[in-house]
């Protein structure tokens, strides 16, 4: 009988602009399993990392929002395909981090993938449902269409994969780019997901993942003038009213905290869109 093979542990880093940097602060924090065993040293992002993430997200807006809905839908669907291929890895990660059974972890991964597919399908449809032509009383063509608001900062709800997917996917579908603070306690699945993203067709900067202390990072995102919207889904335990007040300085669109995991809904997509109404004169003459 040979000795057990020595495993190669993974280094978990941030995901900013399509790259995997360590925190510029050099800080990490320890992620432990439900039984208290050491799992990893996750990067502890600083305000400067948050700043870099916003810069990367802003730079990616034009390309991502300018892509056709059909294209975004396919790129997002591709993520689901890749997730499916890594089911085992995510199940393992969830089991060790959250201490749930393999069956429960499996269920969570399935739900995450299915949620992802559900949202991916909206990319070329939400405009039809949330927009409409307007019968104005005059010789005008008049059409209202929702458009992505821009950069969305998100505080992820507190479980490994499903919470992350449930808030990232709806923001992405419309063409927004995202800076998300992963669950402080269970950030590893989020980082593993970024490894999927990095090998997919999602352009760098479209999703930027920060790990560390939401309480430390969120205020910088809430007050950042180049962030258009703030999803406080996972901020229930933070001083979220202060975050909302801070967000009001630049009149960001804000979604309040949610207990548990937000269920898939069109409203989460529409919440981060702006309705643009275009008028044009109509005449035969």
């Amino acid at each position: 009988m040979t000795a057990a093979r020595l495993a190669i542990p993974k280094t978990y880093k941030l995901y900013i602009g399509g790259k995997f940097p360590r925190s510029e602060s050099g800080r990490t924090y320890e992620i432990v399993s439900s039984s208290g065993a050491f799992l990893a040293n996750a990067a502890k992002a600083s305000r400067k990392d948050a700043r870099d993430a916003v810069v990367a997200a802003r730079a990616a807006v034009a390309g991502w929002s300018g892509a056709t809905g059909y294209n975004r839908g396919q790129v997002l669907y591709r993520i689901a395909e890749l997730l499916e291929g890594r089911r085992a890895q995510f199940v393992d990660e969830i089991v060790s981090a959250e201490g749930v059974t393999a069956a429960a972890a499996s269920k969570q991964v399935d739900a995450a993938i299915d949620t992802w597919v559900w949202y991916a399908g909206w990319a070329d449809k939400y405009v039809q449902v949330a927009g409409n032509g307007n019968p104005v009383a005059g010789p005008y063509f008049n059409l209202s269409t929702p458009e992505p608001t821009g950069v969305v900062a998100i505080i992820a709800p507190g479980d490994s994969l499903l919470g992350f997917v449930s808030v990232v996917a709806p923001a992405l579908v419309a063409g927004n780019t995202v800076v998300i603070v992963a669950s402080e306690k269970f950030p590893l699945s989020a980082i593993s997901l970024t490894e999927v993203l990095a090998t997919s067709d999602v352009p760098g900067g479209v999703i930027n993942v920060l790990t560390g202390s939401p309480a430390e990072i969120a205020p910088w995102l809430a007050s950042h003038a180049d962030v258009n919207a703030l999803d406080l889904a996972g901020a229930e335990d933070l001083e979220w009213v202060d975050l909302q007040i801070s967000a009001a300085d630049t009149l960001k669109r804000v979604l309040p905290p949610v207990s548990g995991i937000p269920s898939p809904s069109l409203d989460r997509i529409v919440a981060f869109t702006e309705t643009k109404t275009v008028w044009h004169t109509k005449s035969l003459l």
Partner: protein, 499 residues
């Protein structure tokens, strides 16, 4: 010499003889109370006068609502919501709104005169734009009241409860309609505060509500200044806050309702770009520029205050613009031929003056249309600043007056980036005969309303509202209903508030 030359005694035909709209149609009271629970009642604050900005003459004494009055009004709205309005069928709510629409039409001329008297806007605008749109708004939303299930907001959307609404002075009655019509259609009750300088038409509207026999407390109208508005939006028993006004106040309101679970819509300032390409229908573009910035003395949040004109037609456009502005007639708002009325208040006039002086100091070329300024009242002649740089304050700050800043661009990409280079994002204009260019530019502009080959068009069926610091939420159309409804699938606004 033809005999007719003598009749004008050397005067120009263009000056036209005075054609004032009669004020005999108005039957104003000396003083107005607060409209609470179906009746006019005394306010507990110190009353104030509303004046005509064109003459500075006293019109009426207006009650001032203090916190106690706000409380009474909110309580009346709450009672009406729970006891009456939420129990009515959508069809019946709709019938009340139809009644209101008809009454507005019947009393349209009277309302137009009151509006021009109190606000200073030309009668041709209050008569042909504001008041007809008020009626249209009530008609449009009346029909929605029993069709909310079909609004695409999920099955059985629910009313929010009591709506606190604070509106500005630039379109007093129209802004009231934008607020009240969808709120009532969706099943909410209302406490509305009109602007301090323009309460008159809202109080006449209260009389219309009495004629419509609208159940007491469904709509309460309380007058006062900023502190009244503040007390209203901060009242713990309101479920919805809707505000139209300055970005600064909007920001403060957003902060004050943070964490309360109150649903909030804000329609704030703007610094709209009106983009004129060299292939524009030039005569209509010039009209559109004029309408864009000089409509309602430029007291329009979506005013096209930044003219972005393609460099190769810059001189021609500015030239034609000046020629056109020379035919604008400034003066008595009640004269049917007046194009430019009075500035709404001394404070606003001071602000316009101050920013215009800044524009001049910053090196832009100032041009002002020649016109006789009346002795009394608040007036500002139509003014153009040419060769304005993008960093100039008059190119960035909302002036809210008849002042146009002219900037140039060379390529569509430059036009788009200059147009978007502002914290605001309410509206924009595009002028070109080339359809594909218009659609591509419209796609890239960060603005909630884009007018192509037209400007400043409004319709109850058409959503209105801004990107970025111009606010959030939409008024008008199907989208306007969403602001007053709790949808089954919507992320629960209250959910987080249980913390």
């Amino acid at each position: 010499m033809p005999s007719s030359e003598l009749n004008l005694a050397g005067n120009s035909f263009l000056e036209y003889a005075p054609a004032p709209e009669s004020t005999a149609i108005l039957h104003l009271r000396d003083s107005y109370g607060l409209f609470i629970d179906g009746d006019f009642v005394a306010g507990h604050g110190k009353s104030f006068a509303t004046i005509s900005p064109a003459t500075e003459k006293h019109i009426a004494e207006i009650a001032n609502a203090n916190e106690q009055d706000v409380d009474t009004a909110v309580a009346a709205a709450r009672r009406a919501y729970e006891k009456t309005w939420s129990k009515l069928s959508g069809a019946d709510r709709g019938k009340y709104l139809f009644r209101i629409a008809r009454l507005v039409q019947e009393r349209a001329r009277e309302l137009a005169v009151a509006e021009s008297l109190d606000n200073g806007k030309p009668i041709k605008e209050s008569r042909d734009v504001d008041i007809p749109l008020v009626a249209a708004w009530f008609f449009y939303y009346a029909g929605w009241a029993d069709k909310l299930d079909h609004a695409g907001l999920g099955a059985s959307p629910r009313a929010l409860g009591v709506a606190a609404q604070v509106i500005p002075w630039n379109f007093p009655l129209l802004m009231l309609a934008w607020k009240i019509a969808p709120a009532l259609a969706a099943g909410n009750t209302v406490v509305l505060k009109p602007a301090e300088t323009t309460p008159l038409s809202a109080l006449l509207f209260a009389e219309i509500l009495q004629q419509a026999d609208l159940p007491a407390g469904v709509v309460n109208i309380i007058t006062g200044a900023g502190d009244t508005g503040q007390a209203l939006v901060q009242h713990p028993d309101v479920n919805k806050v809707a505000f139209t006004g300055s970005t600064a106040v909007g920001r403060a309101i957003a902060k004050s309702v943070a964490g309360t679970g109150k649903k909030l819509t804000l329609e704030l300032g703007g610094k709209a770009a009106n983009i004129v390409f060299d292939d524009a229908p030039i005569d209509q573009a010039v009209e559109g520029i004029v309408n864009g910035i000089f409509f309602n003395q430029g007291h329009v949040c979506c005013a096209g205050s930044r003219l972005l004109v393609q460099e190769n037609i810059h001189e021609e456009v500015v030239d034609r613009l000046k020629q056109r502005l020379s035919t604008l007639r400034l003066g008595d708002p009640l004269d049917k031929n007046t194009d430019i009325g009075a500035i709404n208040s001394r404070e606003q006039l001071e602000r316009i003056r101050e920013l215009s002086d800044v524009g001049e100091a910053e090196g832009a070329d100032r041009w002002t249309a020649e016109c006789v300024i009346p002795e009394n009242g608040f007036w500002f002649a139509p003014t153009i600043f040419d060769n304005v740089s993008t960093s100039s304050r008059i190119a960035r700050e909302e002036i809210f007056g008849p002042v146009l800043s002219v900037l140039t661009f060379r390529t569509p990409a430059e036009a788009i980036s200059k147009a978007n280079n502002t914290p605001y994002g309410l509206s924009a204009g595009i002028w070109s005969d080339k359809g594909s260019k218009i659609l591509a530019v419209a796609d890239q502009l960060k603005a909630g309303v884009i007018w192509a080959n037209t400007f400043n068009r409004f319709d109850p069926a058409s959503p209105f509202g801004g990107y970025k610091e111009s606010g959030y939420g939409r008024e008008g159309g199907r989208h306007g209903l969403a602001a007053y409804l709790q949808t089954a699938t919507a992320p629960e606004a209250h959910e987080g508030a249980k913390k």
